[in-house]
């Protein structure tokens, strides 16, 4: 070792000369693997989005109505819904002509078939019919075929045979005549709906209030006490008045209905069966094969407007999704309002005030693990704690007269939002802690050296600096909250809740009400309805709407975050 010549004569490591560094060292395979992973991810996301947007956007476009005559002489009329290939069993090919058989054989026994939406569920007992291509004798698109959406029984596909305007009958009415008559019928329908849903419902609500008043008096003064008796007498008087008004209104509705029913339309299905129904039962109709592009666009737009602004019909497979939209939006807002202060305050204490040590580390691990608990567990907890314990106590203290029917003691908007807030609060805590930790120490020291207290430093320097990071956490929490359905099914989401959580009856906000949710709506329409084929397009449209809603809320949050960020960007140094 001490002899310097020894090291030069016998090097410990042989000198290596490498012509090319090998592939793994240069890292090229890893670049390719990473690139491929990104491409796969992007393809799946864009593919999914493109599919949802394509199907969702096309759903409301008016399709032509085809009249198909088969080789067996069967005639059907309907919208072509979708086309697929299948392998028919031998008995399905029995009725086919020899040429058709030969053709099928040549195609290796695979044939194409088309699903037609034939409508007329009340007459045919089914909405859809399959027609194999080899059976088709002819397909025509007659101009007098109408596609009619009805309030009940789904769509009707057929001809307009007769318009009966209070006795003035008109055979084969024109589109314009029908539309004019229908416009009037819509006004009548709206008036009947107003009387029933606003006026009569209001009276019912008042009568219920009076009944509850009696019960409250009973609970307060004891049943049979003079005060309770007085309250009962007063209520009886009021109720009698209300009932008289109710009778008048009911009369009015009945007579309006009678008038309305004299305006009828007779529809004729392709097989000659007819159906007469009041004009006001039609939602929309159009000669599907005789539309200009402008008319098609107006139908398309009207369908979207109906979808977004009206209540669902026909077990949610038709009509709008207004309650689900309002329910989801209200829930997301309530969720943010609950989760933001709660999460931020918790993180502030953990990061700024708590003594960092084993206990705080333990709490931090617990918070992180909470994010991994299955959401259904939160649902069960929400039901047990919020609905039954908290809600049950609220009912006993504030709404004893309504018991045993619960007010807050059951699933509802408020409890669902709080459950989701609990579910998403770890995300906010973690993000806020990181944002707080990222505020430079020099800022805090600068503030403290100016004579600011710790709280002043947090409120004036630390929190504003951390705000963009906190917003990021909130965005993540909202995105997660919007996607949850499982816990909601236990704590307040229902299939149909026509009463919105915010409406015009006092006290205007009704967070105790159960509500509809777009995510649950997708599940319900797609997998729980009688007619899953008819519900399918609605699944896509609802998905499209839910995605857009989440996107819009996130875009708003990102906009706010970027505005916050801009005010803290570091200048040149």
């Amino acid at each position: 070792m001490s002899d310097p010549t020894a090291t030069t004569a016998k090097p410990i490591l042989p000198v290596r000369r490498i012509a090319r560094s090998d592939l793994a060292a240069r890292g090229e395979p890893f670049v390719w693997i990473m690139g491929a992973a990104l491409v796969i991810g992007l393809t799946m996301i864009t593919g999914f989005l493109a599919f949802v947007i394509y199907v969702g956007a096309l759903t409301f476009w008016p399709q032509p109505v085809a009249v198909v005559t088969t080789t067996q002489g069967k005639v059907i009329a309907g919208e072509p819904f979708r086309t697929e290939t299948f392998k028919p069993r031998p008995e399905q090919l029995e009725g086919a002509s020899p040429e058709a058989r030969a053709q099928v054989e040549a195609d290796l026994g695979i044939v194409e078939r088309t699903l037609y939406r034939v409508g007329n569920y009340d007459l045919f007992g089914e909405d859809f019919a399959w027609v194999s291509t080899f059976e088709v004798k002819s397909t025509t698109y007659p101009k007098d075929m109408y596609f009619t959406e009805r309030l009940e029984w789904g769509p009707f596909v057929g001809r307009m045979k007769e318009l009966d305007a209070a006795g003035a009958k008109q055979a084969s009415p024109t589109y314009k005549q029908l539309r004019d008559a229908h416009a009037l019928a819509v006004v009548r329908r709206a008036e009947i709906a107003r009387l029933e849903k606003v006026e009569i419902a209001g009276i019912n609500h008042d009568i219920e209030d009076l009944r509850l008043g009696i019960r409250r008096a009973d609970l307060e003064y004891g049943a049979g006490s003079p005060e309770a008796a007085a309250a009962k007498a007063r209520a009886a008087e009021e109720t009698a008045k209300l009932e008289a008004r109710y009778k008048v209104l009911e009369q009015k509705v009945t007579s309006l209905r009678q008038i309305d029913e004299t305006y009828a339309v007779t529809l004729e299905a392709i097989d000659g069966q007819t159906k007469t129904l009041p004009l006001s039962n039609l939602v929309r109709f159009y000669p599907a094969n005789d539309l200009s592009v402008g008319e098609k666009w107006s139908i398309y737009g009207a369908r979207w407007i109906e979808f977004i602004t009206t209540q669902p019909r026909e077990a949610n497979t038709e009509g709008g999704i207004l309650p689900a939209l309002v329910g989801t939006l209200t829930m997301m807002i309530l969720l943010s309002l609950a989760v933001a202060p709660f999460g931020v305050v918790t993180a502030l204490y953990l990061r700024e005030y708590a003594k960092q040590g084993a206990f705080v580390s333990f709490i931090r691990i617990c918070v992180n693990n909470l994010a991994g608990v299955p959401s259904i567990v939160y649902g069960v907890f929400g039901l047990g704690f919020f609905c039954y314990i908290l809600g049950g106590s609220i009912d006993q203290i504030f709404f004893p007269e309504k018991l045993p029917s619960p007010t807050f003691g059951t699933g509802g908007m408020l409890w669902a939002s709080l459950t989701l807030a609990l579910l998403t609060v770890p995300v906010v805590i973690v993000a806020t802690e990181e944002a707080l930790a990222a505020v430079p120490r020099s800022m805090r020291e600068g503030s403290l050296a100016c004579g600011a207290s710790k709280w002043q430093t947090i409120a004036r320097i630390v929190l504003p600096r951390a705000a963009p990071g906190i917003m990021t956490g909130l965005i993540l929490a909202m995105a997660r909250g919007a996607g949850e359905v499982a816990p909601l099914m236990i704590v307040g989401v229902v299939k149909l809740a026509p009463e919105l959580p915010i409406d015009m009856t006092a006290p205007f906000v009704h967070f105790e009400r159960s509500f509809m949710h777009l995510g649950f709506h997708i599940y319900d329409v797609g997998f729980q309805s009688r007619n899953s084929e008819a519900g399918r397009p609605m699944v896509f449209v609802t998905t499209l709407l839910l995605i857009s809603l989440v996107l819009m809320l996130n875009a708003f949050a990102i906009y706010v975050r970027n505005r916050l960020k801009r005010s803290y960007q570091v200048g040149q140094f």
Binding site: E445, G446, S447, L448, A449, C450, G451, A452, Q572
Partner: protein, 276 residues
């Protein structure tokens, strides 16, 4: 050699501080009395005793890790933020104790402005930065705040450069301007003492010259205590210089005589660049 060093750390071969500071005409502002400090088990300051003359500028010099920043940050109790810190001895500001259970630390810090190594303006407008000490005191009178901001900015020789963009973000200023803004912020609360922790170490020579000029102007109005790595700077701006080594105060004297003729060998070695 290793043995010798260990005995140094234990503190037996240090002679008592050579103590020959220049006395100001306004008396003593801040007194450090037998002050020691530990970070957990590690001792950082060993029985420091010195007086800071009112209205003069005192420089704290010494090699890295000698405790000069620790001493400075003990004066306005910024070291309180560090877990496991404990102290012994006392400091007094105008005769009032700085350490003690009943001291209002926030009120104490308001009497001392502090400027840090790296400029740390808050992400706010220039005006808001300057009046921050007044804002946290709850001052809301707009006219008063405006005048205070102007006075502080003039005091920090920044007014002429920023008077047209008082409402713009302070982060848009250059490094030197930012540091002068921090000085303006430190003097806006009208403190008695101005603590500066290597205020020029992140700045270029021109900005450094401006800050030094400013320190010269601030002398007399405030008691200035400046930690610096730059011995020329200490020689240029300070009236008294304290040389620290391994947590001890080795020599404390009037700058001129200390740089010309240090009384302790170690000081001489450091000043002539033989170690450090």
């Amino acid at each position: 050699m290793a043995m010798a060093k260990a005995s140094v750390v234990q503190g037996d071969d240090f002679a008592p501080t050579a103590y020959h500071p220049k006395a100001g005409d306004q008396g003593v502002s801040l007194k450090v009395e037998d002050f020691s400090l530990w970070y957990g088990a590690a001792r950082a300051l060993w029985n420091n005793t010195l007086d800071f003359q009112k209205g003069l500028c005192t420089a704290l010099i010494g090699p890295s890790g000698c405790g000069k920043s620790t001493l400075l940050r003990s004066m306005n109790r910024m070291n309180d933020l560090i877990d496991g810190m404990k102290t012994q001895g006392q400091m007094t500001l105008e005769g009032e104790p700085i350490y003690g259970a009943t001291i209002d630390v926030i009120a104490l810090r308001k009497r001392m402005g502090m400027v840090f190594q790296k400029p740390n303006p808050f992400p706010m407008s220039i005006t808001e930065n300057v009046i921050y000490p007044l804002r946290v005191d709850g001052v809301t009178n707009r006219k008063f705040l405006k005048e205070a901001a102007e006075a502080a900015l003039r005091g920090a020789a920044l007014w002429e450069e920023v008077k047209d963009r008082l409402d713009e973000s302070a982060l848009g200023l250059s490094g030197g301007q930012q540091q002068r803004l921090c000085i303006a912020r430190a003097i806006a609360g009208n403190p008695e003492v101005l603590l500066m922790d290597e205020p020029c170490s992140a700045l270029d020579p021109i900005a450094t010259a401006k800050i030094e000029e400013l320190i010269d102007e601030l002398k007399g109005r405030y008691t200035l205590i400046i930690v610096t790595h730059n011995m020329q700077q200490a020689a240029r701006v300070s009236d008294n210089t304290a040389f620290m080594y391994l947590g001890r105060l080795i020599e404390y004297g009037d700058t001129k005589s200390m740089f010309e003729k240090p009384q302790v060998k170690r000081t001489e070695d450091y000043l002539t660049g033989r170690f450090g």
